[in-house]
Every structure is written in C-alpha cells, then in structure tokens.
Amino acid sequence: MKARVGTQEIHLVSAALASGKSAAGRLTSVPLLEEIYRLHAEDVGRWAARLGGPSVDVDDVVQEVFMVVNRQLSRFRGDAKLTTWLFRITDRVVRNHRRWRAVRRVMTQLTARHGERLASREATPLEALERHAAVRAAYQVLDQVPDKYRRVLILAELEEMPGEEIAQLLDVPIATVRVWLHRGRRAFLARVRARDEADEDDERERRDRQERQERLMR
C-alpha cells in the first residue's frame, strides 16, 4: 500500500469506485487495495475465466492482477475508469498466462487443488470430465480467433455485455467494437466450419476403415 487514507475518504473513494470515477472526473486520493478487491474481485475473476478459459488458473490470475494493482495503485490517476484499468491488467496477465500455458498445465495438473475443484463441483467424475471436455473444445476454437477480436467476442457473447460497455471497458469507440465483433464472429464461424469439416473427414475415414474391416472379415 503506497498511501493511506482516512475512513472518511475511504467512503468517498468507495462511492467513487462504485461509479468508476470521482465527482470531479479524477480520483482525488489513492483508493485502498481492500476496497478495490471487495468491489471488483468477482469481476476480475469472471474476466479471467472468460478470457483464459480452462487453461489458466483463475485464482492465480486474480492474485497476480491484484498484486499489479497494489504496485501500480499510486500511479493510477483516474484518467480511465477503474474497471477499464482493471480489465487491461487482467487481459495482460491472462495473455501472459496463456503464453506459459504448456508449462503451467504440467504444474497445475499435479496440484491437489485442481483435482479437488473438479471433483467437488460436479455430481460425478464422468460429468465433470464431459463438461471440462466441452469447455476445452469451445476454447480451442475461440483461441484460434485473433486476440483483438477474441476479446470483444468473449465480452459480447459470453459476458453478454452491451457494445457501449465493451467500448468503455476497452477504451475504444463503439464503432470499433462493432467492427471487431463482426470480424470476430466471422473468424469464429470460419474456425467452427473448419472444425466440423475436419470432424466429418475423420468420421468418413473411420466409416471407410470400418467397412474395409467388415469386408475383410467376410
């Protein structure tokens, strides 16, 4: 914590944080980490889960995001909305995590925590496995979409955010958001089509092989 503020100020800051900005348009004092965490931890966790998918550990991302927030808090001037600032940090941290996904996957698979979570959330292990496979398949397609469009696509389709909110969060014009979303959807459909075609090819090949084996048996 770089600076401390009094109780009175905390309430003011909390109100400012809740609205995203102070009445004057800029934050007059540095907000507390505790306040930011209380107000935005859930958002950050949700963004991390949406942007990273099952390949990143949401808790790790959230912790790292708030450590960055703790470091950078004194430099936050309030020019942008706090949520925009937090989303940018989350996006950057998630991208870093996705880059190191291969290494992290090996390490996180060994931790009991990962297994406990899988086991506790689903009724049966089979159900958990199926759900996990479905999510993984969805993110495999999403991950092939270029990053710029993927981010907007996820916010619009998974977070169901309105365009204006996405524009505010990304600090870009609404028209840009619409263009990115359109391109993102097109790219996503192209990947889905390619995936379906590949699946059909595999299915055809499997059927052919099965027929050949049956003919040979006869």
Partner: protein, 370 residues
C-alpha cells in the same frame, strides 16, 4: 448488443448446422465458471512477500533479463577459465618420454600398478612377443602397501628410485585423484640410488638413504612376460623406513626383483620369495610377491608351477590387468584347460586392451578352438 437466445442473424449467412455448432460451443464456454477461491488475505500476504523480496515495482521481464544475463556471464567466465572443460587422464605410456621425465603410475582403488624392469618368460615365446629389452612389466600390489604415497602404513613416503629419480620432480598426475606419480628413471641414467627429494607431502617422515646396489650389466633383448609399456630400466622403490617391518618386507621384495631382473637370477629370486612367504605369511606385498613368483617361474620354464602360482593372485588383480589374465589363459591353454582359458581370453577381449594383448587373446582362443 446482447443477443436473444433464438437470434441467429448475427451469424450472417452461415448455414444452419454451422450456426448451431457455433451456438453450442459458445454456450459450453459460457457454462464455464470455475469460481474464485483466492482471498484478500492471500493477496495481501503475496503483496507483502513481494515487497520484502524487493521485486515490487520490478517488471517480470526485467527480472528474467537480469537472470539470463547472469547465467550468460557466469557461463562465459566458466568457459574462458576452462571450468567446464573435461580433463583428460594422462596415459601411463612412457614412449618417447625424455630422460628426466616422470612416469605417471596408475594407482587404482583396489590395486596399484607399478612399472618394473624387463621380465623373461616362456609364455612370451608362446605368444611370440617382440618387445625389446628394457621394457617394463606390470606388477600390481594391494592398496595400502608400504611405499605408496598416501597409504596407511607410510603416508606420503618418498620412494627411493633409480638415479635420475632423485632429480626428477615429485608431482601428482593430472586428471585423477586416485593416482600418484612415481618418478621413473631414464635408461641412460647411472645406477645411483637416492631418496626422492622431500616435498610438502614427503616431509612427514624422515628420509633414509639406501645403500646403492651394484651396477648391473645391460640386459639382453628378451621378450617380457607381463609387459605393460616400454619404460626405463628397473626402477625399484626403496623401503620407507628400513627399521620397520614394512621396510623389511619391501627390502625383501626389492631384493627378489633385483635378483630376477638385474642379476637375471630367477632361482635366487624364488629363494628370496620363499623367504618372504615364510617370514611374512600375511605380508602387505604378498600379491606382488605372487606375481613376481609367476614371472620367475616362467623365466625358469616351470610353467605348470607358474599356473599354480596364479591361485595366489586375487581375482581383482586379474580383472584389472588384462596382461596377467591373458598370460594365465595361455598357461591354461597349454595344459588343456581350454574352458578356463576361453573364459580368460573372452574376458580380455571384452574390454579395450592393447593390440598386442588382443592378438595374444585371439591366438589363444584359436589354439583352444583347435
């Protein structure tokens, strides 16, 4: 922009199955909710740790770059200093060594190999050995034998050598901690005997002058039996302390070797060895005595007894000396023990050995096959 559940218009002109597949994938992704388990206390603890370790405010890339730079610098220094270079062991061959050179003699864990003077024997005739006179023979002795530098009985004891050994520097052999360098005199040097000059490791025990032996005539050109490498004429180690039992043992072995190699009197050597065995039945040099006895018996043409004398040589010495083993194999082959001989020859051929030894083993195998 929030899409209605049945709104497929946003997918443009994509076909229905593709649109359905896209919707299904997105709904699967939407269902993913791992939840948040990290608490504020954990974040604060991590932040405090970060502040304590001084990494606060330092970007991860900077830390990674600093670490990579450190590794590169350390690697460069290590390479330039040769810390990573693999040291090569010094070969024990004395070919082409100058007169004042020091012969590195291997001292292994279980036995020691010393360089000795020429040996005469009939096994060499079987083999058709073509080594010239003056070549050395290998005699192996157990660890801890007197006279070995660093051994239990006389640690760091100076070894009295032939003439030029006194002038030769006392230095360790590079590349192996298990080795000790024993100065070996050059063939051209006069046969005076002196104790090697004292060094830091030598000065722990008093040096004693050894009465010089009479100079001997040069040896005729005869093939050696247990030749290791061409070396200078007989180098003999002086007793560490003449008054001690270990010194007396050493003296007796030394005299037997002198009889065998210098005086060319294998019978005299055998007598001395018999005396050694009687006086020191559990002597420290008994393994060397057994090998010298084999050499003397072969020189006398008593090959059957030589074969029997191999019983006193421990297996470990045979394992470590392919030359000894091939000699035993040849003797066994001569007396029809082809099974045992085959085992010895095969064991010798399994390890990398000198070409001469290899040829002897192959010839022995061929002889047994007939």
């Amino acid at each position: 922009m929030k899409p209605a559940p049945d709104d497929h218009s946003r997918w443009g002109d994509a076909s229905l199955p593709i649109r359905v597949a896209a919707e299904r994938l997105l709904s699967n992704a939407k269902a993913y909710d791992p939840g948040l388990h990290v608490t504020l206390a954990e974040v604060q603890r991590a932040a405090r740790w970060q502040g304590r370790t001084g990494t606060a405010g330092m970007p991860a890339r900077l830390v990674a770059a600093a670490a990579a730079g450190l590794v590169l610098i350390t690697g460069g220094v290590a390479l330039s200093r040769g810390w990573l270079a693999r040291r090569e062991a010094v070969a024990p061959s004395m070919k082409g060594a100058p007169a004042s050179a020091v012969a590195p003699v291997e001292r292994r864990r279980r036995s020691r190999t010393a360089l000795r003077g020429p040996a005469v024997g009939e096994a060499a005739r079987d083999v058709g050995g073509d080594r010239a006179a003056g070549e050395g023979a290998v005699v192996e002795s157990p660890p801890g034998s007197p006279g070995q530098p660093g051994s239990a009985g006389t640690p760091g004891e100076p070894v009295a050598q032939g003439p030029s050994a006194a002038a030769a520097p006392w230095r360790p052999v590079e590349g192996s901690e298990d080795r000790a360098a024993v100065p070996v005199p050059s063939p051209a040097s006069p046969p005076a005997r002196r104790v090697a000059p004292a060094t830091s490791s030598v000065s722990r025990t008093p040096s004693v002058s050894v009465p010089s032996l009479p100079s001997l005539p040069s040896l005729p050109s005869l093939p050696p039996v247990l030749v290791a490498s061409p070396v200078s004429p007989p180098a003999f180690q002086a007793p560490p302390t003449l008054g001690s039992p270990a010194g007396a043992e050493t003296t007796q072995i030394r005299d037997a070797l002198a009889q065998l190699r210098r005086a060319r009197n294998p019978a005299g050597a055998l007598e001395l060895l018999d005396g050694y065995d009687r006086r020191f039945p559990a002597g420290l040099w008994r393994q060397e005595a057994a090998i010298v006895r084999i050499e003397a018996l072969l020189a006398l043409g008593r090959s059957r007894e030589a074969l029997d004398a191999f019983d006193a040589v421990p297996q470990v010495a045979l394992d470590r000396s392919p030359r000894l083993r091939v000699t035993r194999g040849e003797l066994q082959a001569r007396y029809g023990l082809c099974g045992a001989a085959d085992a010895d020859f095969s064991a010798v051929l399994r390890v990398p050995v000198a070409e001469e030894i290899r040829a002897r083993a192959l010839r022995g195998l061929a002889a047994c096959a007939k």
